[in-house]
């Protein structure tokens, strides 16, 4: 049997103390233990990007992290992106630009884009595309997602 550890982690501003199996992936911890099912699991080898969350402010793949590694850390998931009733500007832009269809890849892309825009507030379209290349979307063909991120950015480039 795998050994267990107790961790204290803040997720979307709420503090949790949980005993976790040391091998439990952060993605499974968020979904199965905390019920935060907005973080999606699409490949479990770091390619599809669906499970992207923020760890201490940086966008990371939650399928490539162990829950135990987040002890003492601050995690933000897509459920924590909106400001209460008010959607995050990226969420608004995604809706406005029809940038999602099935919506499965969307949470990961939103979290990555939020961090990306924090570092690059006025990106060019090709920079957005290169960031987005770390995420698979099989519905949209990507163009509407690029439009949405551009619209939400400082550049508003379309």
């Amino acid at each position: 049997m795998s050994s267990h550890s107790e961790i204290a982690v803040t997720v979307n501003g709420r503090r949790y103390r949980e005993a976790v199996a040391e091998r439990m992936l952060l993605s499974d911890f968020l979904r199965q233990r905390l019920g935060l099912t907005g973080t999606h699991v699409g490949c479990e080898h770091g390619v599809c990007g669906s499970c992207t969350v923020h760890l201490d402010g940086a966008a990371v793949r939650s399928c490539l992290l162990l829950a135990v590694q987040t002890d003492g850390a601050d995690v933000r998931t897509v459920e924590g992106l909106a400001d209460g009733e008010r959607l995050h500007p990226l969420q608004e832009a995604f809706r406005e630009h029809f940038a999602l269809q099935c919506g499965f890849c969307t949470p990961g892309i939103l979290m990555a884009a939020a961090d990306f825009l924090a570092h690059n507030p006025a990106p060019a379209r090709n920079e957005i595309a290169e960031m987005l290349a770390g995420h698979l979307c099989r519905c949209t063909g990507y163009a509407p997602i690029i439009d949405a991120i551009a619209a939400a950015s400082g550049s508003g480039a379309e």
Binding site: C43, Q101, F104, C137, Y142
Partner: protein
């Protein structure tokens, strides 16, 4: 403003998607988000590492002792309480949910482990010892055909193709293999199964997409009357593009496991399992001959098709081969066609639905010979296409193979596309560059003109049988759908769909359609997209495939809404003392036409119907719930001459692709891509464009990047997302979309399906463009830089091997 009502009302407006708020907040409800039954145990599957092997023995003793493991079941254990999955035609190996005695593809389930969580289940699965005796594997469709692994061999003849080919000024011949590729939705399969021993029934939650013909197949394998297999789909599904039809065999596997173990079980497929065993498009090899007159008129087509469906003939295969049967002549008015279809089994994963479904394979062959015919005659391919397109005045047009094309103006669409792409200018530039000596970068222009069928005839698959065999069975035809609308006591409306959306936005459009008929706003209409076979109004043809929502799914909503509206008009007429025909429903009111101040609110009418049925006009049935079914017209069973209207509606797509090929590196760059669509009435133009963009990316994949590859032993080489190369944002070029609109006379709203056209057209257009750039007739997909370079090097060109 986004979402504004158009002059025609809500049909054609572009409101925000009602799906989005929850999805954007991470509040979607996908299969792995649901816990519909407490205490479900987790499954992990032991899969064959061999493409073909006898299973001598399975030792599960160590696995059974693994911490947290509840049970280990072998394929034989499952088979003992089930029947093989029913197939469309006989001839292939018996197919059980897991292998019995012989494994026939790498990745085939061999045993099932049941444990407390997925981690523990995988621990135990590693301890299952299977003694395999490897057998020879057959992987290539041509080898399979040679070796006699043919499960169906049918020849068809329409008109006089032999004579027409003999008279042709030019006969172009080519072989066009279309390898396997897969939809790879970002969400994998998921099944939660709960067998109730008291009732001897099974409830399953699964992200299955339909068609519900497969519910019947699953029930048969489970040994259950259909009424005791309750199948529920989650409100959200993380994409499918066809492949989630294949969930049905996992429904059987999980259901049997729950039955044997006496516990509810949960199986969430992982990505490695998905790429190995979920299913892919067929591998088809098409030999084609096309006869042309010297003026470019297409006189005859002859196809010889070999289709690899994998290790088993999994339903609904060989449907990939017959879905396009009515459209074997594409967009062209040719009347002489011959086709031989052979279905072969190989030691690869069973195939199934995949966006485009037979169209990409057909049009690659047809559009390549059209372009090559033009080149052979010294004519411009656009002129040859124009010369042969079905004329606008011919609709409805009956194809020689039996389809009834509903409407269109193909030549106008072609002109639109050529203009938008600056076709003439590009040709001039290309000619100038060629006159200056071929440089490192070669320009190529490719066209594809494709008819996009939608709303499949449930009877087309029976073409795999002879007319005599068909006559001995029950005829199958049509494509029907149901929808239920109900008005609650406060005037709000709920709609329940059986179209099982996979992200297309059916709920948004259904709300528009219902609001239109009832004089409400879409926001007043709540649409439920869960399918529950114990609750919904459905038929075997329900589900999400053949782009059937706009043409038939929305039509069912419209019909139910119209009947409810009629009932409301009756009640209102009684209240307002006028004839129901004089009542109009607008802005939440029932009003007398022309007298805006004489009206009553729908809320009031609804309240009366619920609370005061005694007040209803005599003879009117109480209640405000309506279930309506509609069936697409003209979809007869195949006739004795093997003609079939394989689909009810036919959109048209013209693509013009301009590419530049770097002969030094083999890199293909898309310079410009224009697509013109005629899909009839557009119910929600923004969602329409979303479907076109996604469909384009789906077709671009196998053209430029994606392929499912096995080695000579049958091991999957593209078993993870490191090696199966889905197109990403940096690979999908911009797409320019134009529309024309000739409403379908055969669908209630004039709409045609359009979610698959570019998947059908893009491989053909890009193949024509790359072929045009390089002057090569035989370049196989996908056009990755290394493959193009190898081909050029083999031709002694450009490659410049050091």
């Amino acid at each position: 403003m986004s979402g504004a009502k158009t002059a025609l009302g809500w049909i054609g407006a572009t409101p925000h998607r009602v799906e989005d708020e929850a999805l954007l907040r991470g509040r979607g409800r996908f299969i792995d988000d649901l816990s519909p039954v407490p205490g479900a145990m987790h499954l992990a599957l032991v899969r064959s590492p061999f493409a073909h092997a006898r299973i001598r023995a399975i030792d599960a003793s160590a696995a059974a002792e693994s911490p947290g493991a509840l049970a280990v079941l072998t394929g034989a254990d499952l088979a003992a309480v089930s029947r093989p999955l029913g197939a469309v035609i006989r001839g292939a190996a018996e197919h059980y949910a897991a292998a019995v005695d012989v494994a026939r593809y790498a990745g085939e389930p061999v045993a099932v482990v049941v444990a407390g969580d997925r981690y523990l289940a995988e621990d135990a699965a590693e301890l299952v010892e299977v003694d395999y005796e490897p057998l020879e594997a057959v992987l290539d469709p041509l080898v399979a055909a040679e070796a006699g692994h043919v499960v169906s061999d049918r020849s068809f003849r329409y008109g006089d193709p032999e004579a027409a080919l003999a008279d042709a000024a030019l006969v172009v011949r080519g072989r066009y293999p279309f390898g396997r590729w897969t939809a790879a939705p970002v969400e994998c399969f998921g099944v939660i199964a709960d067998w109730d021993h008291a009732a001897d029934s099974l409830t399953v939650w699964a992200n299955f997409q339909g068609p519900f013909t497969l519910h019947t197949v699953a029930a048969g394998a489970l040994g259950l009357p259909a009424a005791r297999l309750r199948l529920v789909t989650p409100p959200d599904s993380g994409g499918s593009f066809g492949v989630k039809a294949g969930v049905f065999s996992s429904i059987v596997l999980a259901g049997l496991t729950s039955k044997i173990c006496g516990v509810p079980v949960r199986w969430i497929e992982d990505r490695l399992e998905h790429l190995a065993a979920a299913g892919s498009a067929t591998h088809r090899v098409t030999d084609v001959e096309a006869g042309f007159a010297s003026d470019g008129e297409l006189l005859a087509l002859r196809y010889d098709v070999i289709e690899d469906v994998g290790a088993y003939l999994r339903a609904p295969e060989p449907a990939t081969l017959y879905r396009m049967h009515g459209s074997l002549t594409g967009a062209y008015g040719v009347s002489n066609v011959a086709v031989r279809n052979r279905v072969v089994c190989t030691n690869r994963c069973p195939t199934g639905l995949n966006r485009g479904f037979g169209g990409p394979q057909l049009y690659l062959a047809l559009e390549r010979v059209m372009a090559r015919g033009a080149a052979g005659l010294g004519l411009d391919p656009a002129e040859v296409a124009r010369r042969n397109l079905v004329p606008a005045e011919s609709f409805p047009y009956r194809t020689p193979t039996g389809a009834l094309y509903d409407s269109g103006d193909y030549a106008a669409c072609l002109n639109d596309a050529l203009d938008a792409a600056d076709y003439r200018g590009r040709r001039q530039l290309q000619a100038a560059r060629r006159a200056g000596g071929e440089g490192r970068h070669r320009l190529g222009i490719g066209l594809a003109c494709v008819v996009e069928p939608s709303i499949s005839n449930m009877g087309y698959i029976s073409l795999a049988e002879t007319a005599a065999e068909r006559a001995a069975g029950w005829p199958k035809s049509g494509n029907a759908e149901g929808a239920t609308l109900a008005m609650n006591p406060l005037g709000g409306v709920t709609v329940r769909l059986s179209t099982v959306p996979q992200g297309q936005g059916h709920r948004t459009v259904a709300a528009q359609v219902a609001a239109q008929a009832l004089g409400l706003r879409p926001a007043d209409v709540e649409v439920q997209s869960e399918m529950d076979t114990h609750v919904n109004a459905w038929t075997v043809s329900s589900g999400n495939y053949s782009s059937r929502f706009a043409g038939i799914g929305a039509a069912a909503v419209a019909e139910a809404a119209e009947r409810l509206a009629e009932k409301l008009r009756c009640i209102a007429g009684d209240v307002l003392e006028c004839a129901p025909a004089d009542i109009e429903l607008r802005d939440g009111q029932a009003r007398v036409v022309g007298q805006p101040d004489r009206g009553v609110s729908l809320r009031r009418l609804a309240g009366a119907a619920h609370w005061n049925p005694e007040s209803l006009p005599s003879g009117l049935e109480p209640g405000l719930a309506v279930t309506a079914f509609v069936s697409a017209p003209n979809l007869d069973p195949p006739n004795e001459a093997d003609e079939v209207a394989s689909s009810a509606a036919h959109g048209f797509v013209v693509d013009v692709a301009a590419v530049e090929v770097d002969t030094v590196t083999g890199a293909v760059r898309v310079l410009d891509y224009v697509t013109v669509h005629d899909a009839g009435t557009l119910l929600h133009p923004r969602l329409v464009d979303g479907q076109i963009l996604g469909s384009f990316a789906h077709g671009l994949g196998p053209a430029l990047l994606e392929q499912t590859v096995h080695d000579d032993e049958g091991n999957l080489l593209t078993g993870s997302f490191m090696d199966y190369l889905c197109a990403t944002a940096t690979e999908v070029p911009p797409l320019r979309i134009l529309h024309r609109c000739t409403p379908s006379p055969f669908t209630a709203l004039g709409a045609k399906g359009l979610g698959e056209g570019n998947t059908m057209s893009a491989p053909a257009a890009l193949a024509n463009a790359v072929g045009d750039a390089l002057g090569l007739s035989d370049l196989d997909l996908p056009f990755t830089a290394p493959r193009v370079w190898e081909r050029l090097a083999a031709a002694g060109e450009g490659g410049d091997r050091p």
